[in-house]
Point group: C2
Chain length 420, copies 2
């Protein structure tokens, strides 16, 4: 789909993504344990909303609409109705349309989708936010909450860790079809950590992970599934992080850019968007991402692009296999070629199509509702050379983001352009 009015990303804000192994994360081994607590979801949401407006020099009065992506706040923090919580960030928001969208891990991308359609509908300045807090509960409870992204009644029982097991199933199916072993995903993992080590906001900014470490199960990198069929097809290092964090963007129409009165030099245009959904619990092929492909086709077609136009990509690497499958679904390489594409370095910071330059879900972190918003913000920042130690040598002009929910059941793909 093409926006019916021009849509520009004009600024944004992000909190650090934190959780286990992040130096600022408060847990029982932290020196500040008992003295202070990790930020609440309200603090995260209000922080990024205010900082995104400050980043653009905007007051709350000037914002026409707000939308927030969140997956499962009802379970982790007993909180729904986050549109109204976002509306509490500034007195100028009172009485305006704010709401929450949800599509599992694609919730942030859906917020972007709703923000674009708000501009289509006449809004000039829209606040798009995403947030999640997940560190309030232990890993088993968390896995159960996250299983609400699957068809719970039919799919929950595949393993106590439902989603890790569903993607181990994909790894097994992929390797059996195309050849290879779990160790062949190590370059994807090592690249994620290497990028995150350059990113001050990354959950894993201080954790090193070599290709060798990522390749082998070990005491610190064990397999952990119970399902005997899939247990050997996933290690801890193949998983994205359980993170807390938030991200917000300001979208503007052409009239919004004029109201802004500045910053046009930073603005990045959203040239097209695609959204696709598949029936929950009815995955047809574990070796490809058909719903993501459908969303990408919509977005490419409307942009008039093909994959060779892309200079930077943010893809939803909820597990290592997912990044491989998404590079194929976005057409960067042929089906079955994703492992070789990664191993050849094509997706690294100096590769032909840098993928997940800030570390992706595996190492930047994955506060679920924030992820899709963060993807757009990363592309905005790379295009504006704001990425510090992980800035690409040549700022990209054309970028794509693919934010996927569940087992390839909802996908939002967006295409970005800056300059020619």
């Amino acid at each position: 789909m093409k926006p019916t009015r021009s849509v520009h990303v004009v600024g944004g804000a992000i909190t650090p993504f934190i959780g286990k192994f992040h130096p600022d994360f408060i847990w029982k081994g932290h020196p500040d344990f008992g003295k202070r607590e990790n930020p609440t979801i309200e603090e995260l949401i209000h922080t990024v909303a205010r900082e995104a407006m400050a980043d653009c020099g905007l007051s709350g009065d000037s914002i026409d609409r707000g939308v927030i992506g969140n997956f499962v706040g009802e379970c982790f923090v007993n909180q729904g109705h986050l549109g109204a919580m976002l509306a509490g960030a500034d007195p100028g928001f009172r009485g305006k349309p704010f709401h929450r969208v949800e599509g599992a891990c694609a919730s942030g991308g859906l917020a972007l989708y709703s923000g674009i359609e708000a501009i289509n509908s006449g809004a000039d300045l829209v606040l798009v936010a995403g947030a999640e807090v997940q560190t309030t509960r232990n890993a088993k409870d968390g896995a159960d909450f996250l299983a609400r992204a699957s068809h719970y009644a039919e799919e929950r029982e595949i393993d106590p860790f439902t989603f890790p097991c569903m993607f181990a199933r994909r790894t097994k199916a992929y390797m059996e079809k195309y050849g290879g072993g779990l160790e062949d995903l190590a370059p994807v993992v090592a690249k994620a950590y290497s990028n995150a080590n350059r990113n001050p906001n990354a959950h894993m900014r201080e954790v090193r992970m070599s290709t060798e470490q990522a390749a082998c199960a070990s005491e610190t990198n064990p397999t952990f599934l119970t399902n005997p069929e899939y247990r050997d097809w996933l290690k801890v290092s193949d998983c994205s992080q359980v993170s807390d964090g938030a991200c917000a963007l300001i979208l503007a129409s052409d009239a919004g850019l004029e109201k802004l009165g500045h910053g046009e030099e930073r603005s990045v245009e959203i040239v097209s968007y695609g959204v696709a959904t598949g029936p929950l619990g009815r995955v047809e092929d574990y070796t490809s991402m058909g719903i993501t492909e459908a969303a990408a086709q919509q977005a490419y077609l409307s942009a008039g692009w093909n994959a060779t136009d892309v200079e930077i990509a943010e893809v939803h690497d909820c597990f290592s296999i997912t990044e491989v499958l998404l590079t194929e679904a976005l057409g960067f390489c042929a089906p079955g070629e994703g492992l070789r594409f990664a191993a050849a370095g094509e997706t690294t910071l100096d590769g032909s199509i840098p993928v997940n330059t800030g570390g992706g879900l595996m190492a930047f972190g994955h506060p679920v509702g924030a992820t899709g918003v963060k993807q757009a913000y990363e592309i905005f920042r790379q295009m504006n050379q704001l990425c510090g130690d992980y800035q690409l040598a040549r700022a990209p002009h054309r970028g794509i983001a693919a934010n996927m929910g569940g087992d390839d059941r909802t996908c939002v793909v967006t295409c970005y352009r800056k300059g020619s």
Copy 2:
């Protein structure tokens, strides 16, 4: 706000709203207990999606988009990602944009809002659904889940039944400001049950409630709050029902009407919409609904209407006081006049502005996410003389719906017109 392209409601479907006291509701005292179960949320969603398409003679292929309102499926049925569950209703939906929106009890209204903006953005036929299942858990657990519509960390503890207590607080404040007692709300309650007794889909279709019964606390109609300040300001009969149910609509652009090739004579236009949000946990005045007023002002202004143009209203009577406050917020009567307005019969089936003709949330029932969609469907059905025993004598031409979430924190108001 005015739709940027014409938006028409062209058909829909609804399940019965069921729960305690409904003859079809399976519980341990039901003769079918152990033999069959109440419908799952998936069955409800798929049923209304398919029946809404059948109502319009449409196949799944012809639907461009889908959106579903649901409040708290993550808690009651362990299920999020309902956009993808809705997408499972028909093979023709595969690969299309479907998503879920949430704004507490205004979730259904937000689905309508997103559906309108999808038409604004170029879609021609949009499926708008709402659903909730709440009877899986006991009343105390349910009250805790529903408290996620409040600012949980700050407001949960007002009472084990958070929301009933928040509205008892409004009742007390209103009566202290304007005079009156809890018994003065009885005509609002009795009208709701009287209407529902004519409605085969109503949760309370077989439960009688006279004004006298509604006026007095009794063994079958007790007060139940714990908070001593508010305990005497709410009885069971003042509350909406804990129901399971779903509703779906088909929205069409002008081009969508042409694709439909028929049914134009039934179509009802959505002439305007207003959406307003207030900061969670920061209600300024318990004796009025400021956020609902803001949404109504947006909608009236865009429609070029005032309250005297309205011939039928669906308002969010989550509690008896709420219907009174909403008739004031929508301008049907002045602030403080709502009790007298109701007592004078102005809101009954043969009143000047019939309100909640099918029984409203108190007696039609309140499957949360379905409610906002049902409101639109009720107006569509009244305008098309499809309401059977509760059909208004003169089919209305102009109607309004106000779907409110939390303690007046999110409100969606929509204006409908059929004919001149």
